[in-house]
């Protein structure tokens, strides 16, 4: 098994497309929660090959996009403080906060370092004992366990200069908030593959049960996504709503128990502010009391000043699936990947970026 090329077989894909065409009669709206799915859907032109009855909508599953300006402003304020090294995953650097970005303050002289894993931040802290190292903990259930293990490592090594600014978000509560708002009518959910590796497919069972919406966990190759859509169409046509897995090489019902335990040991759920969705209860992760000495919010008195949202930007509506990027007056005009106005144009998993890069008309 090579794990990539065999899931891109053109001939098998044609078979699946034909099968979806034959079985789909009812017009349906499916949402892909995850930004990586949006990227794959555009990258392979999946919307172009689906029958007219099947529409796919992009959801809020891009961790950078949903990070609120207030959080970005805090990180930027911290980065500008003397004696602070900010350790961040790459994409975050380019996101504009209310007034500037981490990338721009780095060019002004702030010590902002791109890391590839949370453990890199531990190394930076050990190499710079006289500086405070702030790790920007961003991401869904996929990254939270690795940040948690870095905190446990810092505890074991008695590091006093390693801190985490936790922006972690949980996917199921966001999906629930979206459904409760009633803004979008969904007939099926393409559940995130990587998140479900950790949480298990069980995390989506409440959606099938309480909202009668079919859920299928999908991988990220074109055949995975087509198979997922085929399974969703079948459920819709049969009047069923259950959770299925179209990504069995990665996902089980119970998920990764070790990762879940790590996450629960270090973090506890808290209300979190999402760009475009406001504050959602129990949708974020904060450090538990016993780890508060690693919590940048607790250790520093951060004053980011007043926040502001870019004028005319509809990132919030895009994240809720209410509007597409093409409906934004700024899209491709004042807002481009080189000079992004909103977060969704920055992240490589953002809907606006994906629409822009793939021409937008690939719809």
């Amino acid at each position: 098994m090579r794990f990539a090329s065999e899931f891109r077989e053109g001939r098998l894909a044609q078979g699946l497309i034909a099968k979806i065409e034959r079985s789909s009669h009812t017009p349906v709206n499916f949402m892909e929660f995850c930004g990586s799915h949006t990227v794959a859907i555009f990258r392979y032109g999946i919307r172009q090959v689906l029958p007219k009855t099947v529409t796919t909508l992009s959801g809020p599953g891009c961790p950078i996009c949903v990070t609120a300006n207030i959080d970005l402003d805090k990180a930027i304020a911290l980065a500008r403080s003397p004696n602070v090294i900010t350790a961040s995953f790459g994409d975050v650097l380019r996101v504009p906060g209310s007034y500037t970005s981490l990338q721009a303050v780095r060019a002004e002289g702030a010590d902002v370092r791109v890391i590839y894993s949370a453990m890199d931040a531990i190394k930076i802290a050990k190499d710079n004992p006289h500086k405070q190292v702030v790790l920007l903990g961003i991401g869904f259930e996929t990254t939270a366990p690795t940040i948690a293990s870095s905190i446990l490592q810092a505890e074991e090594e008695d590091l006093t200069n390693f801190l985490v600014l936790s922006w972690h978000k949980l996917s199921p509560p966001a999906m629930q908030a979206l459904l409760n708002s009633g803004e979008v009518a969904l007939d099926g959910l393409i559940c995130p593959g990587h998140v479900s590796v950790i949480t298990g497919s069980q995390a989506w069972e409440f959606i099938a049960r309480d909202y009668q919406i079919p859920c299928v966990v999908s991988g990220f190759e074109p055949l995975d996504i087509l198979q997922c859509i085929d399974m969703l169409v079948t459920q819709v046509e049969e009047g069923e709503a259950r959770v299925e897995i179209a990504y069995s090489r990665g996902v089980q019902r119970g998920g990764n128990m070790v990762a879940q335990q790590l996450m629960n040991k270090v973090f506890e759920p808290c209300p979190a502010e999402w760009r475009g969705m406001g504050t959602i209860p129990a949708s974020g992760l904060k450090l538990r009391e016993e780890y508060s000495r690693f919590d940048a919010e607790q250790v520093f008195d951060i004053d980011p000043g007043p926040t502001r949202e870019p004028k005319g930007c509809i990132c919030g509506d895009v994240l809720r699936g209410v509007s597409t990027p093409l409906e934004c007056p700024l899209f491709g005009k004042t807002c481009t990947p080189e000079n992004p106005v909103g977060a969704c144009m920055v992240s490589s998993e953002g809907s606006c970026f994906t629409y822009y890069l793939c021409g937008g008309k690939n719809d």
């Binding site: 053109g10 555009f42 790459g90 991401g139 990254t143």
Partner: protein, 334 residues
């Protein structure tokens, strides 16, 4: 434009192009510079190609090469992409205080071997040493000149509708090989950089007498960025077919893990050739006879268009617009 240089301005993608066009060219442009080919072509009785490039790769030693080999291959390849036969190189070092002499010797041996293979002589040079922390180990600049044989007219501006596009081999090897050794991201792969001097293969392609319109080596920014540059330079639509583009399984796998698209990953020993359709077979055969072109493929063709663009037919038969690289190639979060 931002008011300070960002790292992304050096990525070879959109911001780099913006910097060149809006800031650099606006002050010092002239007709030779404004052609924006890999080398400038000047007439000194015969036609000469002249180019320069700086090398700041991290790490300086990587699977399949090092900064020295890169400094020779990169510059001689730029000459070859103008159809020139590389003849002379300059070689300038900026060395950080404390850099081990044994490493410098190792780099010099690579420079010797690569220049020998590329058929160039190093005829002038410079060495500067800067304080520790003012440079990262070793930077190299090389400039090169080469002679363009009579009758050869290769330029990114010469592409015409109908041209066949030939890619010399699998993409992304260099970028992924480098990534696999980068601090904090190490992963095990058998992959080695494709870093190689291409002038020998280009000479054989030209020797076929085929009507070659353009050549370009897709380095930083990858194949996608190079094709975009060329479509703009010649004002044409470039159509490529995903299934025809060779990518090794190791590269595909690493790209999936990191969230990259191989189309944007750097190469250092590949070229794309735009060739008149009647001569495409001949050029393809010449490339395949050469070790650096053994896996060459026709990957698409050029069409007429009102606005330049690059479009790829995906494995599902859909079409996808391909843009230049934007910003740096950074691993995804989740």
């Amino acid at each position: 434009m931002t008011d300070a240089i960002l790292l992304a301005h050096g990525s070879g993608g959109k911001l780099a192009h913006q910097l060149i066009e809006e800031t650099i060219l606006s002050d010092i442009s002239n007709p030779l510079l404004a052609r924006m080919d890999d080398s400038a072509v000047i007439d000194f009785g015969g036609r000469l190609a002249f180019t320069t490039d700086s090398y700041v790769v991290n790490p300086i030693f990587f699977p399949g090469g090092d900064i020295g080999k890169l400094a020779v291959c990169g510059t001689t390849n730029d000459l070859a992409m103008s159809g020139a036969d590389p003849a002379y190189l300059s070689l300038a070092f900026i060395i950080e205080e404390g850099f081990p002499l044994s490493d410098l010797k190792r780099v010099l041996r690579s420079i010797r071997d690569a220049s020998c293979e590329a058929g160039v002589q190093i005829i002038t040079g410079d060495t500067k040493v800067v304080n520790r922390g003012c440079a990262d180990k070793l930077y190299i600049n090389t400039a090169g000149i080469g002679k363009i044989p009579p009758g050869v007219g290769i330029s990114g501006a010469n592409i015409v509708p109908g041209d066949k596009i030939i890619l010399s081999g699998p993409i992304g090897d260099h970028g992924i090989a480098i990534m696999s050794k980068r601090e904090g991201l190490r992963f095990t792969t058998r992959l080695v950089s494709d870093c190689a001097p291409l002038s020998g293969m280009v000479a054989e392609m030209i020797a076929t007498g085929a009507d070659i319109h353009a050549l370009r080596d897709p380095t930083r920014g990858g194949l996608a960025t190079t094709l975009n540059e060329l479509s703009k330079q010649s004002q044409v639509k470039i159509e490529i077919v995903e299934e025809l583009i060779p990518v090794r399984d190791e590269v595909l796998g690493a790209c999936e893990m990191l969230g990259f698209d191989p189309l944007y990953v750097a190469n250092e020993g590949k070229l794309v050739a735009f060739v008149s359709p009647r001569d495409a077979r001949q050029v393809l055969d010449a490339m395949r006879r050469h070790p650096y072109g053994a896996e060459a493929q026709v990957i698409g063709e050029v069409e007429e268009a009102a606005t330049p663009s690059v479009v790829m037919k995906t494995v599902l038969g859909a079409s996808r617009l391909i843009d230049m690289l934007v910003g740096d190639l950074l691993p995804r979060i989740c």
